[in-house]
Structure formats: structure tokens, C-alpha cells
Amino acid sequence: MELLFASLIGVLTASGVLLLLRKRSYSVLLGLTLLSYAVNLFIFASGGLTPGQGTILGQTQQYADPLPQALVLTAIVIGFAMTAFALVLAIRLRVVRGTDRLDDTELEREES
């Protein structure tokens, strides 16, 4: 179970970082999303992988750690708000510059 989980987090992080280093704004945003998936899974795993254990008193004999679950919820909510803002910024940038490439355009190279 741990091997599967760790491999999943590893693959998601690797894909996220690869996409982050691309030159197109949408690829960067997708990379950020994948990275945030990986991080959220990692936070969830920090409480220990305990299959079959609940977090409400009386439900099961042993309990799973509820704190990482609360942390993950907060992180997910913050993450999607940030991603939404970054997406709107990327769209605005595309409209204003005429391209979604992240390096300098011909015009900007001439200007500087």
C-alpha cells in the first residue's frame, strides 16, 4: 500500500515539475495543478495510511488521525482559489501580449 501511494505521489510530482518548466502558460498551470494533487496526497499520508479506520467516535475500534484530513481540505480550498487566479492572469497575459509563450516576444526584446 505504501509503495503504491509513494509511487503515485512521485509520479504526480515528477509530471508536475516537468510541466512547470515548459514555456507555455497553460502547461505551467497544469503542472501546478498536478503538483498540488501530489502535495495534497502527501499531507493526507502524513497521518499514516490506516485503511478501514474512521474519524468519528464510536464508528470503529481504532481511529485515523483527523488533523491531516482537515489540513488537506484547507490546502485544497486554498489551492483551487490560487489556481483560479493564476488561470485568469494567464488568460489576461495571453490577451495583452498576443501570445502564451512565457519568454520575451520580438517586440519586447526590441523595447528593452
Binding site: L20, S25, V28, L32, L35, S36, A38, V39, N40, F42, I43, A45, S46, G47, G48, L67, P68, L71, T74, A75, I78, G79, A81, M82, T83, F85, A86, L89, A90, R92, L93, V96, R97, L102, E108
Partner: protein, 483 residues
């Protein structure tokens, strides 16, 4: 513990919410609400500061949950000093917008939310709560950076947003790893738990701490995570940059908190080296960049980078006197940078087409030349402003520390380069070009006078403020011999 602790966090939040109501459409009402909120923030700081001075650290339990389980807010002298800095900066930015007929939409609520995030970050004793407040202030800063969206601003803001989102992801990774090892998110509990880890898990703790230091180094713009600072601060609205001047100090505050709480433990050893390398490299890079600046705003941004590097390099020595000097330096560096940015804004508006570019264009009038001289003295660290005291104390404290000579050398080199750059900028702006007789109505003068007055007061009353800084640092667990 009285509920006054929540005032620096709740007052800006309530102010921002009132500003979003349709009741506050007119600019006059917005200024009124802003003024009431900011002044009440400053006033509410007074009982907190008095309690922190006389009674030491106060801890406030949110929801009355006991210590290992709940979120704790701590009010100590260190928090109060930094909250004071950010509040007076916010007042300066508000004052500079007084006579403006059109203010960009939502800039006041965003400013108050930024202030709320900053105050919360200074007040919290819980690591995840720190993350949440960091996100609040980052979100507000993203909004403020593009509140007047020009092409260069949007282009500079996108890397800033992406880099900080990655930083948040790394912060969460470090947090999760530390929680898995320590079982708590409280600074004190975590320090105790991490110090008593079995030997097989010590390397994991070191890795997690290094990740955390990388995140704070990103906020404080230390090498190699410094590249976002100069482009961003050079292109955003200078008034917004004046408020952002305190944001790099948040990274320094977080580093002081991290090293102050956990510094005496063995698992922190690799982290000290990161701080030293990052700080010194940032200082040297900024010293080289400052002479290549193309406009005044870029010049001031390089100086902000230099001050961030200076503070981090001084922190790396793990010395109590030097850390106290860093706290005072952080205070006056924020005020000085904000003063400089407000002057940049005035120059941009005055010079019209040539803006603040260091080219021969419109010459500054004699009154502005006097201001430019005072601000240059402040940026370099000469009397009659408190930055002189900040630099001198860093030098004095560094002389008593082994290898402190390197810090003094880099400090003097940085000051020399900034002096060179400012002299060149001054000669182009003040002594060359055509004189114009324009009368502009702006309230920059009031805001700059407020900041300059504060800086001069800090110089005159420097003894007392350094005593407070020393008291603030002495209360950190690292220097109290907590095992």
C-alpha cells in the same frame, strides 16, 4: 489572556468587508473607513505591546483548545515590533492616496486584506496557521500587483504568482513531513518532539527543515530564489511596492522565528549554511545589480534585495546581539524602502514622459532635490535617519563574532555600490535636463514626511528601540537555554 490579541487580525478584515459593501462606493467614505481601521489597528497595538514588554510572551488559545491540540496565537515583543512596522507602512500608503481623484478599484480592500495576512503571520505560533496567513497575504499581493494592469506589470506578476504557488506546495510538503515526524504543529511542541527523534529519523527531520528554510528563503528573496524580487518590484505601482517593502521582511521574520525556536537543536545544522550562502550571495548580487539599474524604481528594488540579503547573512551567525541588530534593521529598512518608493512615485508623475528612467529629461525642482538627498542618505545608511543606527549596530555586533569581518566587508561593499548608483541617479535627475514649473497636487509629501519623521524619531530614541529588540530576541527559546 484578553481578546485584544485578535484586534490586529480582525480590524483589517472587518474594514475590508465594510469597504466591499455598496455603502462605500464614494472615495471619501472609503478613505474614512480606511483611516478608522488603520488608526484603530495602531491604537490596539498599544495594550498588546505593553503586555508583551512587562509580562513577556502571552499565548492566546483559539477556541480555548488546550496547547498541544489547538491553534495558538502568541504576542511577544518581536511580533509587536513587526506589526508596528507594517501598520505604519499601511498608514503611509493610505496617506499617499489622499488627494488622488481616482484610486484603482478594490485597492483599499486588498490593502486591508494584505495587512490582515501580515498581522496574522506575525501573531501565530502554529505552523499551518502560518501557511494560511501566508496564503491570505499572497493572494492580496497578487491582486495588488496587477491592480492597474499594464503589459509589463502582468508580465512581471506571472512568474511571481507561479513561483509563490510552487513555494506554497513546498511549504505544505515540509509541513506534512514535520507533522508526520513530530505529531504536532505548534512551534514549541514540534521543537521538543524533533529534538528527541530516534537516530534513524533524524535525516528526515533535517530534510524537512531544509525544505522549510527554502520556503522562507523564497519569501525573503535569498539566493538562489531571489530572481522574482527585482523584476516584480520594478514594474508594479510604486505605492504598492511601498507596501510590499514589508513583505520581504515577513520572510526574515519567519526565519528569525524558525531559528529562534529550533536553533539550538542538532537537526538544524545544515539549515544554518543555507542561510549564510543565501544571504551573502543575495547581498553581492544586489550590489552588482544596483549600478546597472535603468530607472529609479529598479534601483530601489535592488536595494530592497540587498537589505534582505544583509539581514539573512547576519542571522546566519547565530549570535544574540547580531539578531537584535537584525530586528532593528528590518524595522528601519521597511520604512526606508517605503519612503524611497513613494519618492519614486512622485518622480514618475512629475517627469511625465521620461518617468523615473535615469535619462536626461525633466529636472527635479529644488525642493525635490532636497528630498532626494535625504532619501539617498537614508538608503545608504547615513545620519540623520535611523538607517545609520541600523548599519552601525550591525557592524558593531558583527565585530564581536568570529568571521564577522565578512559581513562587515559585504555590508560596506553594498553601501559603496548603492552610494555610487544613487549619486549617478541624482546627477541625472537633479542637475541635468530642463527645468519645468509644474504645480502638482499630491499628498506624497505628507506620507513621506510621516515616514521620514518616524525614521528620525527612531534615530533619536534608538537606545530604547534597541533595548526592545534585544529583549525581543532574548525571549526566543534558542537563547534561553531550553533543552
Amino acid at each position: 489572556m484578553s481578546h485584544w490579541v485578535l484586534a490586529p487580525i480582525l480590524l483589517p478584515l472587518v474594514g475590508a468587508l465594510i469597504l466591499l459593501l455598496p455603502f462605500c462606493q464614494s472615495l471619501r467614505r472609503q478613505h474614512l473607513v480606511m483611516g478608522v481601521t488603520l488608526l484603530s489597528c495602531l491604537v490596539s497595538l498599544q495594550p498588546l505591546a505593553r503586555q508583551a514588554l512587562w509580562l513577556g510572551e502571552q499565548r492566546y488559545l483559539l477556541g480555548n483548545w488546550p496547547e498541544p491540540f489547538g491553534i495558538v496565537l502568541q504576542v511577544d515583543l518581536l511580533s509587536c515590533l513587526f506589526i508596528f512596522t507594517s501598520s505604519v507602512l499601511a498608514v503611509a500608503v493610505w496617506v499617499s492616496l489622499w488627494r488622488q481623484s481616482r484610486v484603482p478599484p478594490y485597492s483599499f480592500p486588498l490593502l486591508l486584506m494584505l495587512l490582515m495576512g501580515i498581522h496574522g503571520a506575525f501573531l501565530t505560533a502554529d505552523l499551518f496557521n502560518l501557511f494560511v496567513f501566508f496564503e491570505i497575504l499572497l493572494m492580496a499581493s497578487y491582486g495588488l500587483a496587477v491592480v492597474t494592469p499594464t503589459r509589463m506589470r502582468l508580465k512581471a506578476a506571472f512568474p511571481y504568482v507561479v513561483v509563490n504557488l510552487v513555494g506554497s506546495a513546498v511549504f505544505l510538503l515540509a509541513l506534512a513531513l514535520l507533522y508526520a515526524l513530530a505529531g504536532s504543529l505548534n512551534w514549541r511542541e514540534m521543537g521538543q518532539a524533533l529534538a528527541h527523534l530516534p537516530a534513524t529519523q533524524q535525516p528526515l527531520a533535517q530534510v524537512a527543515v531544509v525544505l522549510l528554510v527554502m520556503v522562507f528563503a523564497l519569501k525573503a528573496a535569498l539566493f538562489p530564489l531571489h530572481a522574482w524580487l527585482v523584476p516584480l518590484y520594478s514594474h508594479i505601482n510604486p505605492r504598492v511596492a511601498a507596501m510590499f517593502a514589508v513583505m520581504s521582511k515577513i520572510g526574515i521574520y519567519a526565519l528569525i522565528r524558525l531559528y529562534g525556536e529550533w536553533g539550538q537543536h542538532a537537526f538544524m545544522l545544515p539549515a544554518w549554511w543555507l542561510l549564510a550562502v543565501g544571504g551573502f550571495a543575495s547581498m553581492l548580487i544586489a550590489a552588482l545589480l544596483v549600478v546597472t539599474a535603468k530607472d529609479l524604481q529598479q534601483l530601489v528594488s535592488c536595494l530592497v534585495l540587498m537589505s534582505a540579503g544583509t539581514m539573512a547573512a547576519a542571522l546566519a551567525y547565530a549570535d544574540q546581539a547580531l539578531m537584535a541588530a537584525v530586528v532593528f534593521y528590518a524595522l528601519q529598512a521597511s520604512l526606508t524602502a517605503a519612503l524611497a518608493y513613494l519618492a519614486v512615485d512622485w518622480v514618475q508623475q512629475f517627469r511625465g514622459r521620461s518617468a523615473d528612467r535615469l535619462v536626461v529629461g525633466v529636472r527635479l525642482p529644488p525642493a525635490a532635490v532636497r528630498w532626494f538627498l535625504l532619501i539617498s542618505l537614508a538608503l545608504v545608511g547615513m545620519p540623520p535617519v535611523a538607517s545609520f543606527v541600523g548599519k552601525i549596530w550591525l557592524v558593531i555586533a558583527a565585530m564581536d563574532v568570529p568571521h564577522g569581518g565578512w559581513l562587515v566587508l559585504c555590508l560596506l561593499l553594498g553601501s559603496g555600490m548603492s552610494l555610487l548608483a544613487l549619486a549617478r541617479a541624482g546627477s541625472v535627475l537633479c542637475w541635468q535636463g530642463t527645468a519645468e514649473h509644474k504645480t502638482r497636487v499630491s499628498s506624497h509629501g505628507w506620507a513621506m514626511a510621516w515616514l521620514l519623521g518616524l525614521l528620525m524619531y527612531l534615530l533619536l530614541d534608538a537606545d530604547r528601540w534597541l533595548l526592545w529588540c534585544q529583549q525581543a530576541v532574548a525571549a526566543l527559546p534558542m537563547f534561553q537555554g531550553v533543552p
